[in-house]
């Protein structure tokens, strides 16, 4: 059910511009791996490469042992903002991956309504994206992504455009919703606290590759916030983040 990624000596970037070199990374099936890093360090590029939207510029990028050559419904992506189709209602947006898989209409509709209920928008199904708040739109996007039953979910700063309060609520919702899916999750953010709350492991990405990977003690348990173990994990992440890369 869950997908595993294996990256070896990978170079990432757009065209001739290389953003990351010598990247080695293993994403274990079913885990939530959060990637943090300064802006412009290649986090989004990494996700787009895993999604198959960008070719890697060298090395091998494998999903369950097979090279990634293009996008696949196995590896769905949640974008930062405005990825919903504005002319479709929330429900019809969530139905889209099901329509692509040619699932019959009544079943499509039921599944979409069920997922909208899961993200707390059961009563907003008929609304168009512009009638929803930013947080609601991201919940619809999450429902749409999960409705396609992907084996991996790639999330590109999905809460980056939200205010702090909505952001906190969205993080709790995500943690709740992820309990019901076996999918492997790769989550990109620049927020270390978000990373420590959501992830099983947190990787620090830099142009020279992965600097460190920290195991999160007691992942997704709000009660552990601020305990010595989590504080220690936070310190080591921050140290890795702000360490100067060797010239």
């Amino acid at each position: 059910m869950s997908l595993a990624f294996h990256l070896e000596d990978v170079s990432l970037g757009h065209g001739s511009e290389i953003a990351v070199r010598g990247l080695d990374l293993d994403v274990r099936p079913g885990e939530v791996l959060v990637v943090v890093g300064a802006s412009g360090c290649g986090k989004s590029t990494l996700l787009r490469t895993l999604a198959g939207l960008l070719p890697s510029l060298g090395g091998s990028v494998l999903a369950d042992g097979a090279p990634i050559t293009g996008p696949s419904p196995d590896r769905a992506m949640v974008f930062q903002d405005d990825a919903l189709l504005p002319w479709r209602s929330a429900r019809r947006n969530v139905e889209l991956p099901l329509a692509i898989r040619r699932i019959p209409r009544p079943q499509r509709r039921a599944t979409a309504e069920q997922w909208l209920g899961q993200v707390g928008l059961g009563d907003q199904a008929h609304r168009r994206p512009r009638q929803l708040s930013g947080g609601m739109r991201q919940r619809v996007q999450l429902a749409r992504t999960l409705a396609g039953e992907p084996r991996a979910v790639l999330m590109d700063e999905p809460f980056g455009a939200l205010d702090a309060q909505t952001r906190g609520a969205m993080q709790r919702l995500l943690v709740d919703v992820l309990k019901n899916t076996p999918a492997t999750v790769v989550f990109v953010t620049h927020d270390v606290d978000e990373a420590l709350f959501i992830g099983d492991r947190v990787a620090v990405l830099a142009p020279g590759g992965i600097r460190t990977i920290v195991d999160v003690p007691e992942p997704r348990d709000p009660a552990t916030r601020g305990t010595p173990l989590v504080r220690a994990a936070r310190e080591s992440l921050l140290a890795a983040l702000f360490q100067r890369s060797p010239a």
């Binding site: 939207l53 990825a83 189709l85 504005p86």
Partner: protein, 274 residues
């Protein structure tokens, strides 16, 4: 402590805008009608009193004369035949232009190969006014009728092509990326993202195209027609029947307005509220 709290932005968007008071709507319609009536009265006054102040109104038919002519023509089957003829020409040319213009616009915007093949041709042909194609149309097509449709087609084709191309190129890449990561292929992206996403732009092209089509169908009829509103108007001019010329002009105006309104209505129906 304040008791009133500003509504969150998400809420304000969903509340419907307050309805305008009906009295104000009625007043606006009154102004619109008064504007037309005033123009007619001014025309009547200028022509009845034979105003000649550098521009001469003494030979222009009065609105009453024109109305009389219109009344006569309304009882003449030929008048309707002309209208039908022009409508058939314009709708055929326009429909062909819509199909080919939208298809070519999408093709050029989505494929670099097709863009390299077609774009140079389009750029060279586009600046030629469609009406300048009359001599070529006469050579190319066995029948006059087809030539006129061809000219109407060419006139509407380019505005539709250009608007579609722009609309498709302006689509946010994230919509396509999202559909592709759901497993959608080229066709799915075309049907679920490109076509609906480009529709507003396509319809603005159709509106412009409809306007240009009228200009060209009337001009083409004046030059080479043997039926149609344009031909009839020109014919009236050659026999110095000025009231009939003005009836022709008004007919063209009303037909143009109706067809443009139809495109607009269709656009609002299909594009809907976003």
């Amino acid at each position: 402590m304040t008791t009133a709290v500003a509504a969150p932005p998400g809420r304000t968007r969903t509340t419907p805008s307050p309805k305008r008071p009906p009295g104000r709507q009625a007043r606006r319609w009154l102004i619109r009608i008064a504007s037309l009536v005033t123009a007619l009265l001014l025309w009547e006054w200028l022509t009845v009193t034979d105003v000649t102040a550098w521009i001469r109104f003494d030979r222009l038919p009065t609105p009453v004369e024109v109305a009389g002519q219109l009344w006569t023509l309304l009882g003449d089957p030929l008048y309707y035949l002309d209208i039908a003829q022009s409508l058939v020409r314009i709708l055929t040319g326009f429909a062909l232009a819509a199909v080919f213009g939208i298809a070519a616009g999408i093709a050029v915007a989505r494929s670099w190969l097709l863009s390299d093949i077609l774009q140079p041709l389009f750029e060279v042909v586009r600046p030629i006014p469609a009406i300048a194609l009359v001599p070529v149309a006469i050579l190319l097509f066995p029948r006059n009728e087809q030539g006129i449709v061809f000219i109407t087609f060419t006139a509407a084709f380019f505005p539709i092509l250009v608007s579609t191309r722009h609309a498709v190129r302006a689509l946010p890449a994230v919509w396509e990326d999202a559909v592709r990561t759901m497993g959608g292929g080229r066709w799915r992206v075309l049907i679920s993202v490109v076509l609906p996403g480009a529709l507003p732009g396509v319809f603005s092209g159709l509106s412009v195209g409809m306007g240009v089509s009228w200009i060209c169908v009337i001009s083409a009829e004046m030059i080479s027609g043997d039926f149609g509103v344009g031909y009839r108007t020109w014919h009236a001019y050659t026999i110095v029947d000025y009231p009939a010329v003005l009836v022709g002009m008004i007919t063209i105006g009303v037909l143009g307005w109706l067809t443009a309104g139809l495109v607009e209505l269709l656009g609002r129906r299909i594009v809907g509220e976003r």
